[in-house]
């Protein structure tokens, strides 16, 4: 029983990270029909910015995080939107998708060229000790990660639902044409989602890299997991991305222990196939009606 609880918390912690990445994914889709296949590389990169800040500029951890975070939000939010999304989306969703696949390869190879193919250790946010609560042993790290993920998601929901700017963003996502007719600054709202995505992937990067080390290939499976989480949860719903991410994290952790660590990576794909077959709109998604 204690083992189960422990596994569950560990699963929710990694699942929370997947959820953050998946939320960014769905936000971009909702407001601008951007499907970002470089999302995994977006998570891989900020950790390297932090490492560069610490290694090349001699900063300590938190200043490096602040600097790397700011750089990530600008590059992965603003610059990504201006230089890739805006020119490509005019030609349709598919050309943009292909462009983001190209971007993923570029980012991956650039990091390898610049930083090498090794896996670099990354500072942990909390001590790697355990605490015992009601007889169950929890890794402090898992609890900290889970707490940060919950805080980020709650803050995001409060912003989207509780502020006028947030509701203007929701309106833009639900119906951009009508949003424009009401005088909502649609372009600005879309930019905000790109900046939020930049911030989400940065947080995810800082949380996940201590566990899996900083490696140029990290984006490959991270992007895949976020994509799967978004799809199984419901591609057009933030809460779907949360549910999908958490589910994936928990299942992944349990599969590693109770099934086999070899088949572990197949489980998310199996879930994906089952969901797509039997509930294509995702667990919490709604069927989209798009007028052309």
């Amino acid at each position: 029983m204690a083992d189960l609880l422990q596994l569950l918390v560990a699963g929710l912690a990694t699942g929370g990270i997947y959820a953050l990445v998946a939320i960014g994914f769905t936000l971009l889709w909702q407001t601008s029909q951007t499907i970002n296949f470089a999302q995994g590389e977006f998570v891989m990169l900020p950790a390297f910015f932090v490492l560069i800040g610490m290694g090349y500029f001699g900063l300590s951890f938190w200043p490096a995080v602040a600097l790397g975070g700011a750089l990530s939000v600008v590059l992965l939010g603003l610059v990504f939107k201006k230089l890739m999304v805006e020119p490509m989306i005019r030609h349709g969703v598919l050309p943009l998708v292909i462009a983001t696949i190209g971007l993923a390869i570029l980012m991956k190879e650039a990091v390898r060229q610049f930083y090498g193919a090794d896996a670099w250790p990354f500072p942990v946010l909390a001590a790697t000790t355990d605490v015992t609560v009601f007889g169950a042993v929890f890794a402090v790290q898992s609890l900290v990660i889970l707490a940060i993920c919950v805080a980020v998601v709650v803050a995001l929901q409060l912003f989207l639902g509780g502020t006028r700017t947030g509701r203007c963003m929701q309106a833009t996502a639900q119906n951009p044409t009508v949003a424009r007719l009401l005088g909502i600054r649609v372009e600005r709202m879309i930019l905000y989602t790109f900046l939020i995505n930049g911030a989400l992937v940065t947080v995810a990067s800082i949380l996940i890299t201590p566990i899996y080390l900083a490696k140029f290939t990290n984006g490959e499976w991270l992007g895949l997991y976020a994509f799967i989480a978004a799809i199984i949860g419901g591609f057009n719903q933030v809460r779907g991305a949360i549910a999908g991410g958490l589910l994936l994290g928990v299942v992944d952790n349990f599969a590693a222990v109770y099934l086999s660590s070899q088949y572990r990576t197949a489980i998310p794909l199996l879930i994906l196939i089952v969901v797509v077959l039997f509930r294509p709109q995702g667990l919490l998604g709604r069927i989209e009606e798009r007028t052309v």
């Binding site: 006028r164 509701r167 203007c168 929701q170 309106a171 639900q174 119906n175 044409t177 009508v178 949003a179 424009r180 007719l181 009401l182 005088g183 909502i184 600054r185």
Partner: protein, 247 residues
Amino acid sequence: MAAPDILRFEDVVAGYGKQTILHGLSFNVLRGAITTIIGPNGAGKSTAFKASFGMLPVRAGRIFFDDREITNRAPRELIAEGICYVPQGRNIFSELSVLHNLELGGAAAPEGFHLKPRLQAVMERFPVLRRKAKHQASTLSGGEQKMLEIARGLMLEPRLMLIDEPSIGLSPILVEELFDLLRELRERGITVLMIEQNAKRALENSDHGIVLELGRARIQDHAATILADPRVGQLFLGGTSSISGRA
């Protein structure tokens, strides 16, 4: 002394891609009246609305609102000028609450505009929206959703309302209610410019009519005169009462 016409099209040319829909459209909309634009499909009725509201580029010609040129200006600026546009179909934000939908009607509010009292005033007029203020907008009935759209358009106290096919999908009783509401808006000094498929019914509730054909205004007259015009009757009103009889 303000000019008698609040909206004026002068030789407006507009269209989609290579296709031109409006071939030099000119008409005036008189202040403080209800005017209905009728015409067959493809005549350019909705295109004229989109062109006047900055949703479609005007290639030639000019559009004036209150004698100020508004050609190709953005919706946000036009709202500030005092125009609102209620498009065809369902245009609510279904996953936001009724209250938040209304509030978004004030998204283009100028600095210092007090939304709260305005929200109260609008909900005063639409008690059903007040009652369901906290409900998700998707739970409203079709008629209530249309009322919500109109109420949302009234948030910034427009002087001109462009309303496209408001009666589509509404029951006969609701259509009656809708026309009552438009007349009430007129009494409050809001000019209404409407497009209606149900041409006879709409003209009966209007002061003026404009008949569009192939992107040009063929006839501009009193609604009653247009209703009595045999040419119009044959072309667009079905000649008999068959159209008006359709729900």
